[in-house]
Symmetry: C2
Subunit: 500 residues, 2 copies
């Protein structure tokens, strides 16, 4: 096609210009001589620097028409211009990239892979241990990608799964990157800290420095484990981090944060590539992001919640002496709950098994229980569901009629795996054989374990101010619920089906 | 690869199941016998019906494991699972689809093409006349797509460009589809009514029926033209329509509407394909969209603005007797402004040319002017820019220091084209030769025409209530601005450069 010839000619013009006016180098060799696999595995920092260097050169090019032609050639060659299909047709030696994320990753990762046209097949789930990314499994996935020459767009570490509150070992992902970089495989490290990002405040002194582990520990019984501490300490290795102010930032919905170590990363997603300008480049960071619509999905939106975040952070800076004190209280509440569950388990010991399915990493605690009389996972789930009914919003009743509201989550077979799932079910007195990936409908088996999920983000849960300890009240209520539902079930086994 | 073999086997299982239990037909022939080009050009309604039929069959399949296998095979074959690259590798006879949109389309279409991995090259710009999609140009684009066997994902009609307020002839797009459907080319019709969607209220009687053209006209001097009337009348042919409540719905930011003629279209983008369920299908529309997170980009968000939209529409239903009365006033304000500009042009006739670059379709009116002493487009733009400075928010000054706030837009060379651009510039006394796609920096030429842009969405602009006619005040102010800036420019020509 003539269009394509034109583009190729333009592309050659680009290469000619580059070679002549600005030979781009990687490890001392010209980029033009380097194979695509190596190019696909340049470190993020190097890619950002290359882009900035080209931009600077283009601005300095005295022949403005030539600069415009070169900029046009770059634009015409980009994935965003060509589309994925045409881009990979032109680079037949390259495979589409994959994203590595723990099996526990939020479902929005799935959504994003579909939306971007990458496809969910390219989201490689990395197995977990205790719902935390398993370093050995990550290593195996990296090994496989290297063997298949599949470029890795990024590895995602989750700093606080929204379902289980478990934290991935960010430091181990960073270490794996260091090691693999030497073997020619590289990737961006993204931390999904939507839930736990604000907890970083606890780890930071007012001067911004990282507090020693022992200092942080002093305020808690258990928190933070060495793994959790190291994960937070490694946040500075991430290329990008997402944080939700509407979660542990206590700010209403409407603001979200994508934090990049190098703000020039945003130039890659800017609506107009700032390669060629009639205008001068923005003088500073503030001016650049003033035109926010160039960098975000929405064009125009309310700034109210962004302003709320700004005011909150100015009022309570994100360190251990200010914002971190709120976070600290939530974790102390969770630690109290953790200990209190032991007493609940003892109180219900005649009737049921009660256990924490995973050791909590911070302020999100799950709880599982099963009647001693039952060995089927399906029936355990049905019983938990009945208890949950009492903790759910009922749109036909006034809110005040409920004593507590609770949420739940399902631990799927894929997420926990057979070995760990088996361990958990044995603790609950459930026959592990009833945990299967392909259960029959209405039978004894199930493919997930239903657990209660507690996000203890209220810093005033314990009896500090008004002499009401809500954790104690909740545990006592839960005990009554389990007993009354067990009685109701024993009295009228047929009714169980109606509810379940 | 074994994985692929497995998928192929599963896919054959799907075909086997289909053939055996539910032969899907198009025009009396089994889908399995129909070529891909024909499949890619099935009408939207037929595609939705096919999907629903498969779902119904899968629910009815007594062998539940078989149903699960078939559902899995469908999922594994989808574009969203495979990603664009692998999908088109498996369908080597298919080209990636294109989206046809007028050159005036909002820049978010560009953003969407990049985001979805389709690439901006696949956004085919359809030329306009008077900033409205040109039916002949659309015909040529359809012709080309048919000749190249490029499937058309959708044709976008803009019902109110946010820059110029011009309306695309939706009825002509619908007619083109009718005609091309008979020749085997089909596409979805999407209407981007972000700006103008609410104006539909004016065209609707309280019983929801379309009002006759003459009835609608009675309240106005010019509105609606036959073309505009027919465009609104054809809205029922659209497969999907986007509307922004925060524009002419007068509701704060935070709600957006994507309206589909058949709500089952949303199943195609649902997070989990509702093919296989342990649960029963949602009983009704309300229950289905209660789980809104399955269908939208965000997982959780504030419902406040959606509630505001609901309350607004309940209070003022979307018909000519209620919400439409607000809209009607905005158009009467715009018509008054339209006439008033004539007087402004006469008042400034000694000094400048003043003109409306396009005939307004509703309540968004642009204005262009040029000093009689100038024939260069670059200098005309610089002068307009100087006038605009007085209409812009100055963050260093109190808002009250400004008399009026105004916005502007640039009419690009690509959008208006040479012929129409020439006409407009001649009306402004500008040498059309100074309008070029590749102007030199700092010279006489420019690649766009800077115009003032007025969104007259305030229904109380005219002297109805408090005896203040804001349109008169604005026009008088604009006249003074043009005169004073012209004088300042004449007195100190060097200062011009500082400002421009």
């Amino acid at each position: 096609m003539p269009g394509q010839q034109l583009q190729t000619a333009a592309f050659e013009a680009f290469h000619g210009w580059l070679a002549q006016s600005y030979p781009l180098l990687h490890a001392g060799r010209s980029l033009a001589e380097i194979d695509e696999w190596t190019l696909l595995n340049l470190p993020v920092a190097e890619i950002v620097a290359l882009r900035a260097a080209i931009e600077t050169q283009l601005r300095a090019e005295p022949d403005r028409r030539r600069a415009a032609r070169v900029a046009q050639a770059i634009r015409a060659s980009r994935l965003e211009t060509l589309g994925a299909v045409e881009f990979f047709r032109r680079h037949p030696g390259c495979e589409p990239p994959v994203v590595l994320a723990p099996v526990t990753a939020h479902y929005s990762w799935d959504k994003a892979m579909r939306l971007l046209g990458l496809g969910t097949d390219q989201l490689v789930p990395v197995a977990c241990r205790g719902m935390r990314m398993d370093a050995a499994a990550l290593e195996a996935s990296l090994e496989q990608a290297a063997a298949q020459h599949r470029p890795i767009l990024c590895v995602v570490g989750v700093l606080g799964t929204t379902e289980f509150g478990t934290f991935d070992p960010i430091h181990r992902i960073a270490a794996a990157r260091e090691a693999w970089r030497r073997r020619g495989l590289d990737f961006a490290l993204h931390v999904d800290a939507a839930w736990g990002g604000y907890l970083a405040s606890i780890f930071r002194a007012p001067d911004g420095s990282l507090r020693p582990h022992q200092d942080v520990r002093r305020a808690f019984r258990y928190f933070p484990s060495r793994e959790v501490y190291d994960a937070f300490a490694a946040l500075d290795q991430a290329d990008s981090i997402t944080v939700d102010p509407h979660k542990l930032g206590y700010v209403p919905y409407g603001a979200g944060a994508l934090v990049c170590r190098d703000h020039r990363l945003f130039d890659f997603v800017a609506q107009e590539a700032p390669y060629v300008f009639d205008e001068a480049p923005p003088a500073n960071y503030r001016d650049k992001f003033h035109a926010l619509g160039r960098y975000i999905l929405e064009g125009s939106k309310s700034g109210a919640s962004a302003a709320a975040v700004y005011v909150t952070h100015r009022t309570l800076p994100l360190d251990c002496d200010h914002f971190g004190r709120l976070q600290q209280e939530t974790i102390r509440g969770a630690e109290y709950f953790f200990d209190r569950v032991q007493r609940l388990a003892e109180a219900l010991a005649d009737l049921a098994f009660v256990t924490l399915p995973f050791e909590p990493d911070s302020n999100l605690v799950c709880l599982a229980f099963n009647l001693r009389s039952n060995a089927s996972l399906a029936r355990m789930n049905a019983f938990t569901q009945r208890v949950l009914q009492h903790l759910k919003v009922d749109p036909t009743q006034p809110l005040q009629a409920k004593q507590f509201f609770g949420s739940s989550t399902r631990v799927s077979y894929e997420a926990i795996g057979l070995a760990e799932g088996r361990q958990l079910l044995l603790r609950l007195g459930v026959d592990p054989a009833t945990f299967r990936p392909d259960p029959e409908e209405g039978g004894r088996d199930a493919d997930s374990i239903l657990v209660l999920r507690h996000t203890l983000m209220n810093p005033w849960l314990l009896a500090r101010i008004n002499d009401i300890n809500y954790v104690d009240l909740y545990c006592a209520y839960l005990e009554r619920l389990v007993r009354s539902e067990a009685q109701a079930g024993a009295a009228a086994p047929a009714a169980r089906q109606l509810v379940a």
